[in-house]
């Protein structure tokens, strides 16, 4: 089974590499949205320092959501998804593999570029680690929960907006814990509690979301 | 009764707009839901009738 899963991951990564513009657009969207906050609020450094974790996290949320339809849509369009459903590998595992590949392509770049963006907000350098770690823990959760939404809205009209409506309320705890960890660190009380909770959410989502997404896929593909 | 008069009751100690604003909007929403349900019921019955009329017309 691991061979089959490795195959799924490699295939998805290859496909993403061939369509690198998709990946880069999401990254660029993230950067642009983060830059919009100072433009909207004003360049005052103290204010920006305060909003930095929240702004970066909200932008990461939106960028993640933008990338979600891609998990299943292209496979659905060319018929691969039906073959996957018929295959021997448990669907939950395949979904987990696809989500992992999706995160590598859409989530990890956000994590890696976030310290640079945080510096734009004059966020304290010693706290960059907390912010990056929170995103590293949080973006996989976003991909996992988002996969459920993507599976439910497969092939529906009004896709992207409907997907956002379904998925954003479920993102709220991740946002609160993620941004909260960096804010708490900035306030001097340390963000460990939130980071641990994020870790717990990640484990929980990792255990259940692929299975829920698999159920949703079967429902959508009937 | 704890209110001295009708005026006192309606005035709600100066908070009339908030208290009555809450109660009246709630009442309006509940009535709207009931009305919409009645309309939906009528539409559903019409739908059944028209579907049966159509299928009988085909025979």
């Amino acid at each position: 089974m691991t061979a089959a899963l490795r195959c799924v991951i490699v295939r998805d990564l290859l496909l993403a590499a061939r369509r690198s513009s998709d990946v880069l657009t999401v990254l660029l969207f993230f950067v642009i949205v983060v830059s919009l906050f100072p433009l909207g609020i004003g360049p005052e450094p103290a204010l920006l320092r305060t909003i930095a974790p929240g702004a970066i996290w909200v932008a990461a949320l939106l960028a993640s959501m933008l990338a979600l339809p891609r998990i299943f849509a292209s496979d659905h369009a060319d018929g691969t998804l039906e073959q996957i459903l018929l295959g021997a590998t448990p669907l939950g595992m395949t979904v987990a593999a696809k989500v992992f590949a999706h995160w590598l392509v859409s989530g990890l770049p956000l994590v890696l570029i976030s310290p640079v963006l945080a510096l734009q907000f004059d966020f304290p350098q010693e706290l960059l680690g907390v912010l990056t770690l929170s995103l590293a823990l949080g973006t996989p959760i976003l991909s996992l929960i988002g996969a459920i939404g993507a599976a439910l809205t497969l092939g529906l009209r009004g896709g992207g907006a409907l997907l956002s409506l379904l998925v954003l309320p479920l993102y709220v705890p991740v946002l609160i814990m993620g941004a909260g960890s960096a804010e708490a660190a900035a306030a001097g009380i340390g963000g460990q509690a939130q980071l641990f909770l994020l870790g717990a959410l990640l484990v929980f989502a990792g255990a259940f979301a692929p299975w829920a997404a698999a159920v949703a896929l079967r429902i959508s593909m009937e | 009764m704890i209110w001295g008069s009708w005026e006192n009751f309606l005035a709600m100690g100066g908070y009339a707009s908030y208290v009555w604003g809450s109660y009246l909007v709630t009442l309006a929403l509940l009535i709207a839901e009931i009305v919409l349900l009645a309309l939906r019921r009528r539409g559903a019955i019409e739908g059944v009738r028209s579907r049966n009329a159509a299928s009988q017309g085909k025979r």
């Binding site: 459920i148 439910l152 809205t153 529906l156 009209r157 009004g158 409907l162 409506l165 379904l166 954003l168 309320p169 479920l170 709220v172 705890p173 609160i176 814990m177 909260g180 804010e183 708490a184 909770l197 959410l201 259940f208 829920a212 159920v215 949703a216 429902i219 959508s220 009937e222 | 009764m1 704890i2 209110w3 009751f9 709600m12 100690g13 100066g14 908070y15 908030y18 208290v19 604003g21 809450s22 109660y23 909007v25 709630t26 929403l29 509940l30 839901e33 009931i34 349900l37 939906r40 019921r41 539409g43 559903a44 019955i45 739908g47 059944v48 009738r49 579907r51 049966n52 299928s55």
Partner: protein, 248 residues
Amino acid sequence: MNAGINWFKYSSPQTFFPLAGKLVLCFGVLSAIACAAGLYLGFFVAPTDAQQGEAYRIIFIHVPAAWMSMFLYVVMAFWAGWGLAFNTRLSGMMASAIAPTGALFTFVALWTGSLWGKPTWGTWWVWDARLTSELILLFLYFGFMALQAAIDDARRADKAGAVLALVGVVNVPIIYFSVKWWNTLHQGASVSLTKSPTMAATMLTGMAVMAFGFWFYSIAASFARARCIMLERERASDWAAGYAKGSA
């Protein structure tokens, strides 16, 4: 073996339809009585609050509506899950029937909460744990309704909605906890609508009676909507045709 009612008889739309009709009437009347009693308690028995004056009387709608909004979401998720697990059509219809009423009470909780916050705390919106959670709950309801509206096939809509509702119901405690945490950390928003009047017994009784009134109303409205859904989906069946002919 002929003991007791055969409950499974009512799991088909055809047999449940007339029963639901009677229950709509019955619970509608009960609701009117309970609400009348609750309003009487709220306006003519409960005393004026020392700190908030008469403004606190909004609580007799705000708290029962909030309770209903959460209760109805759980019930909706229960029926949706049951329908997903056992493939019973009626359960899915019931879940879809409950959603709009649940969303309505969520909105009522938010509206009354806002109108309560303005005179007591000075702002139209307070980011306290309960109001913020209610807001997210409203989005969860809307998501459920939007998803079902976007899917044409009734069976797929039922099952997809069920997955969403179950994921949602698991998340509601997580959301509430994280919002509560967020609220207590950011001490600026330390005002809380939940801590307000010290509860005189009459206030609690008034709230409880209103809660029953809203509960009975929800049952009546959900069953009435379920009847509409049954007629819409089972348009082609004989029992529907018979009913439509009968009700002129």
